[in-house]
């Protein structure tokens, strides 16, 4: 349960408070004292109408490569991201993002390679079938190519996950460091 402050509709109970030792606080409104806002013991704030604030409640992560991934021609290859910049809810492991909070997420990834290729497709490969693909940019004069993908995706908060795959028409190795990255963040609950 939680300690509750509620705004009622009767003159005798217009403002009512009940307390417990859970450490949670709820604000409620209306004749039935419906919960509008919940603040947990970690100070995460959840709004009943679908918006949540807090490190645990709103996962975000960012990762990149320190070792390039070898790509075979004509093959869709999982891209490895071995270095995390941040991972607020420990939802990123083995180059896979598995958020434990259900909702909609902004996902971004870029794969950079040395050399110009005819086809380079970066794919947000989602376990729930909602995969998305990016487009190719050949960087004139630099002999480099990049493929970026960005999309809003839904995750169920338990089994859904996403990994980055890339399809290349040529055998290549991805460029590591700041060039090849994968990041994402929670936008809103369902």
């Amino acid at each position: 349960m939680a300690s509750v402050i509620s705004a009622g509709t009767s003159s005798g109970t217009a403002l009512n408070m009940t307390a417990d030792t859970s450490g949670q606080l709820q604000l409620a409104t209306g004749a039935s004292a419906t919960t509008a806002i919940t603040i947990d013991t970690s100070q995460n704030v959840a709004f009943a109408k679908g918006f949540t604030v807090g490190a645990t409640a709103a996962p975000a992560f960012s990762a990149y490569q320190t070792t390039g991934t070898s790509l075979s021609a004509g093959t869709t290859t999982k891209v490895l991201f071995d270095t995390k910049q941040f991972d607020t809810n420990s939802n990123f492991a083995s180059s896979r993002f598995t958020p434990t909070v259900a909702g909609y997420y902004q996902m971004n990834a870029c794969v950079f390679v040395s050399g110009t290729v005819s086809v380079l497709l970066t794919i947000l490969n989602a376990s729930n079938g909602a995969s998305r693909s990016g487009s190719l940019t050949n960087i004139a004069g630099q002999g480099q190519s990049a493929s970026m993908v960005s999309s809003v995706m839904y995750f169920n908060g338990s089994t859904d996950y996403v990994e980055i795959y890339v399809y290349s028409s040529n055998a290549l190795t991805t460029l590591n460091g700041q060039y090849t990255y994968f990041n994402g963040c929670f936008l809103r609950s369902a």
Binding site: G74, T75, T76, T77, K78, V79, L80, L121, S133
Partner: protein, 55 residues
């Protein structure tokens, strides 16, 4: 490389046949040390190569 082996068996195939969005054959590598493998083979006329042909 699996792609090169398949191209050498079926010389009529091109890179477009392997594109995940326009092709009918999908080769995949999960970067788990097991290498390239045939994820999907949906070519309308050519049969999937046998393990012996790919060895």
């Amino acid at each position: 490389m699996l792609y090169n082996k398949i191209i050498s068996i079926y010389t009529e195939l091109s890179e477009k046949d392997f594109n995940p969005f326009t092709g009918t054959i999908r080769l995949q590598n999960d970067s788990d040390g097991r290498g390239d493998y045939i994820k999907e083979w949906n070519h309308p006329t050519l049969p999937k190569p046998t393990d012996e042909e790919l060895a």
